[in-house]
């Protein structure tokens, strides 16, 4: 598993890569935004750990430019811990965020949640080439691609996972807790808005191709994908 870490704190990079290496990951570190972005675009990483405060180009800018070309999963390291930062990061297509200073176990859990998902999907794609289709939304489980009326949606890993989960359980109400546990690999904290942000991103992307709302919010309980028109 190859990870890319972009953080200007060299001491933290060393410690973190030592820790993650011990857990069986290969970690490349870059301390500069532009340099890190170039590397992320030219190589295939499983996951990118991206700091917000970076010299030459900040984390949000790196994410924005990366998302124009690649859907590599990104975990933002938000030093500020402010709501604004988190929401902004998720809007730009980050898969998850973790506020600094973080607990090493928590970080590992989130990294593993994302990489496990990828492994799971890779093994799925080798075995079967199944696809799902509900209400003009088409999900190809093998290629991890989603499309609406033959228009491919450019979803991030997390967004794809959430949509796939909703499609698989079309017509059923899926709670935010379920989504958080299955997709982000963590319990949903009270007042956590990340799932809402991801769902809102999915809605926006679907809305580019069809007019009527496919994903309904059930207040207080969760989300449901409507079956039939």
């Amino acid at each position: 598993m190859k990870l890319l870490m972009i953080d200007d704190d060299t001491g933290l990079c060393e410690l973190l890569s030592e820790y993650l290496t011990a857990q069986g990951f290969a970690v490349d570190c870059f301390h500069d935004g532009a340099e890190g972005l170039a590397h992320a675009l030219n190589h295939n990483y499983e996951l990118i750990l991206l700091d917000v405060m970076l010299p030459s180009m900040d984390g949000f800018e790196v994410l924005k430019q990366l998302r124009q070309k690649k859907l590599t999963p990104v975990i933002m390291l938000t030093a500020k811990g402010e709501d604004f930062d988190r929401i902004f990061g998720l809007e730009l297509g980050a898969d998850d965020y973790i506020p600094k200073p973080f607990n090493h176990r928590e970080l590992l859990a989130r990294v593993k949640a994302i990489t496990r998902r990828i492994e799971h999907i890779n093994s799925l794609s080798q075995q079967q080439t199944s696809s799902l289709s509900v209400n003009s939304i088409h999900i190809n489980l093998a290629t991890r691609e989603a499309s609406v009326n033959e228009n491919t949606l450019s979803l991030t890993g997390t967004e794809y996972e959430i949509l796939a989960m909703l499609v698989q359980h079309a017509g059923e109400v899926i709670s935010k807790e379920q989504i958080s546990e299955q997709v982000l690999g963590r319990r949903l904290a009270p007042f956590d808005r990340s799932i809402d942000m991801h769902v809102s991103n999915i809605r926006k992307k679907i809305a580019e191709h069809v007019n009527n709302e496919r994903i309904k919010t059930m207040r207080g309980s969760g989300y449901v994908l409507i079956q039939g028109e």
Binding site: L15, E18, Y19, A79, D83, F84, P101, F102, H104
Partner: protein, 460 residues
Amino acid sequence: MKTPDWFKKPRHYLFLKIFAWFWVTVIATITTLVFLSKLTSNVGNDELRGPMLKNLQYTAKSIERIVAKHGKSTQEVISHPRLSKHKLLYLNGEVHGVEMLSEPISKDIDLSLLNFTKRMSPQIIFTDEYQAYGPVKIDVPEGTFFLYEIDEKRKKPFFVGLWLMPTWLKIIIAVIASLMLSFFFSRNLIAPINSLKETANKLAHGDLTARADISNSRQDELGVLGRDFNTMATQLEQLISAQKRLLADISHELRSPLTRLKMATGLAQMQAEDAQQAYLERIEKEANQLDKMIADVLQVSRLEAKSQTLSLSTQSIQVIIDHVLNDVRFEANQCNKHLSVEGKIEKEVPCDETLIASALENVLRNAIKYATQHIHLILSESDAIYITICDDGKGVDEANLERLCEPFFRQEHARDRNTGGTGLGLAIAKNAISAHDGTLILENQEQGGLCVKIRLPIKS
């Protein structure tokens, strides 16, 4: 109508004092002047000097010369318009009762007054009806005379007019004029003092942007005082904001080494033997405590500086309270304390749920910490949402009530760090509520124990 304060207790108001003193002084001055002028006669005189005297002496010489040269009678000479044009000449003989005038005059004019001045040097003499210049001695064949030039007052001069006004009118005018004068004068003195008073009050209540409204052109002591006061306020504001910024900056900078410390601890835990694990756990626990404190300091600074962006969404306050209660009930049970809830809130208001939740959590944790047995939570709504949290602990010294919401303020007996608080809980709560335009008030209950009263306005 309510009687104003200044009316009931006039002695407490500098304005009224100054005003009264000015007024009394002005009135007294006028009265004295009036009284004195009544006593003295309205006739006055002064030494005649300068060109007026020269002129008069020249006239006297001319009369003497013309009479001697042309052999005319003195009466003829003085009546000639060349000498008495635009003026009245009066000759008073050395012998009593002998007199001559250049032209007849009205009966009102009483020239006999001038008899008393015959022996004097040339004077200017004021009477009610005329002014006279003289005497200058002249010798003519008819005998020795004293020459006066008389100036009839055709119009009554202002002061005489004023004098002739009825007494009651004079008094009213004097009273009104002095009243207005004194009023403006004392108001001019008091206005800056009042402005200073209000500003000092605002500063004391924490509004550091308050400045006294004193014009720059004011040069007197009050102007200087006002400007010095404003300079002081500016200095104060800068100092306090610098101190707060420093706290926030330090906390922010502490996060990087703390992150590394946590990582290093994680690495050590992977390799350490069992004997060392306990110490490493301790290090981790302390690092987490440090982390919590830094987060709290940063939150308070952001809230105080009003730089926190509220992520507002219309929320049922009850849902937030239930969320918080879930966690807090568990803690209360662990401490063997009872948490009771009364009332319900139906209203939904736009609010930042994380902030409201952290405010309630902090207040409730605090209550659990200091309660002996019971914590009582009362919810109600009318014009606003009211959340009251009371404990049955020792309460707080009245003197410390206000300071309880300051960061890191602890009462003496609460100074043990083992309770696990960061000393920022109430500061966060108060600022979080203020950010929603609400108020948080601390009160001691009569039967002992502290009550925290939160009021959140209902906005649509």
